[in-house]
Symmetry: C2
Subunit: 338 residues, 2 copies
Amino acid sequence: MADKVTIADVARIAGVSRQTVSNALNSPEVVRPETRQRVLEVVEELGYRVNLAARQMRTGRSGLIAIRIDPAGDGINGSVFDRFLHGLTESAAEAGYRLLLYTAGDDDKEIAAFEDLLGAHEPDAFVLTSTHHKDPRTSWLLDRKLPFVTFGRPWSELPEVPHPWVDVDGSAGTEAATEHLLATGHRRIAFLGWPSGSGVGDDRREGWRRALAGAGLDPTGLSRATSDAIADGEAAARDLISGDPDITALVCASDSLALGALQVARSPNPAWHAEAYRRIAVVGFDDTPVAKAIGLTSVHQPLTEAAARCMQLLSRALERTPPGTILLPPSLVVRQSA
Amino acid sequence: MADKVTIADVARIAGVSRQTVSNALNSPEVVRPETRQRVLEVVEELGYRVNLAARQMRTGRSGLIAIRIDPAGDGINGSVFDRFLHGLTESAAEAGYRLLLYTAGDDDKEIAAFEDLLGAHEPDAFVLTSTHHKDPRTSWLLDRKLPFVTFGRPWSELPEVPHPWVDVDGSAGTEAATEHLLATGHRRIAFLGWPSGSGVGDDRREGWRRALAGAGLDPTGLSRATSDAIADGEAAARDLISGDPDITALVCASDSLALGALQVARSPNPAWHAEAYRRIAVVGFDDTPVAKAIGLTSVHQPLTEAAARCMQLLSRALERTPPGTILLPPSLVVRQSA
DNA sequence: TTGAAAGCGCTAACAG
DNA sequence: CTGTTAGCGCTTTCAA
């Protein structure tokens, strides 16, 4: 049984006052080096650890960072968040913080969760994911001057109070994917994405468009939008390919869509296309485990680094430094599919 | 800004003492109903919430449950843990607890993490996953009489101090998978698993063997063991199939292995097998997103329920009730692959 | 540079 | 049934 050793025990054995122990630990510069040395030895010897509850009562800091965890969903894209979460757990630990999980059905419920948490465990900061247009969560936190960082840009068009964020440059990813296809000889490259309006989706489409424009190619008629499911991706891919015999490659906004597209690309069905077999290259987005498993070329997000950067910005925010923003470049992982 | 409202504010406005407020909240039966009513109204009105740090100092209870989160790994099987984690976050919330994350490289590091956590955030309980033979973590926690539950059986052969655990009956899963194949007409059904010694792996193999025995079939020569990677699964499947022309189905210990097996099953290669095309049925284990994505029949674990049961056992453990154990039945999700 | 005193918000114990 | 007292372990005054 870890016998509770308090600051008083350390003080008694080191022959100093409780206060000096606290100082030696929290404000080293204010204590004579030899005193500090002796205190630290006793701390080590006794295995003393600060009691965070007690510290929290005095300082109001809990050492906790709250982050929402979502239902698994279709699971394919869920793994992106999971990798981020793991990275964040480690980065947070290095900075002396621990992650506290909560769930919330929607933005309003999440704001209710903020209130719950703030009144109970008092996290020192929040990490928000899946930011979107007019996100009420960021305004709520900003209003209360609570430290937070978002993994994802503020997608609002209106100028807003700035806040720290980290994101991966999605358009650079689809642009790189498209350029890779161009370099491999493809000329007619289509895009499979989501209905416009979502910041992330529009951004990814833009990268593809930019790459085509850079090669002097016309994107007209080469883009389809659908919801993010395998079956939808398959239908849209089939539609694209059968409607345009020159298409030889597909850039997709997600691995889910790409998976659907692959069904079409890998088993050309004479029923929907009469011409001889043509190999369709497919590129996905997120480099999920599925992509790796089935040899799908995909845009990889540096999630561990993103997590580390989030912590970095959070540390700054906790010191009330003006917000920083970081846009990370993704990388293309080339596999058999393209 | 949420203006801190303390128990004193409530007491003052309700016209009672602080203690009565505390009682009304924590020991309702000891307070006159009308007093309690009034107190609760004021609590509501003021938006009062207990300060957990203060409560923790008095009671020693933090309302936190600690759980380790692992690196993503190959990611395919990682999703099992993630679904469990999500379920646990919700079940914990319903019971008034929050999850605290930590990482640890191995068992010893995890025990060090226990000590860290216990000295700092003081979680009320731990949830352990990936239990294995002679798991030092459970002994450590048992020695200190700390409440915990494991998701996974204690796989030790030696009689040990019992502890609460929840697990999914893996052998029932592979047995059901095999029976399904038998019912579909398959007679020669092989098993692709891991080297013996791992409790989980041996258990899954046993279910397959049991089903064959039940049908009066001999499992000899029909089992292969390899590490849990797609490429290894593919090699082993190829070896099995090319070595025995009568094999028509494969039961696998994981979706990773099954994915490898599918490569073989779905694109029969004349080079390694001269006979006419034969369709090989494949069944995986864990029903990961990948399985869903590619139409792989797989054994599904009821992870949300497992999480709920873990919380249930934990609640009991927190009241120092003798440990309970729960073995949950999995279900077979039939898709195209079998 | 070190020490003494006070108090964060809460609840266990006891007194009324 | 309700109120008073005390103190959990820590850090922030302030004084020595």
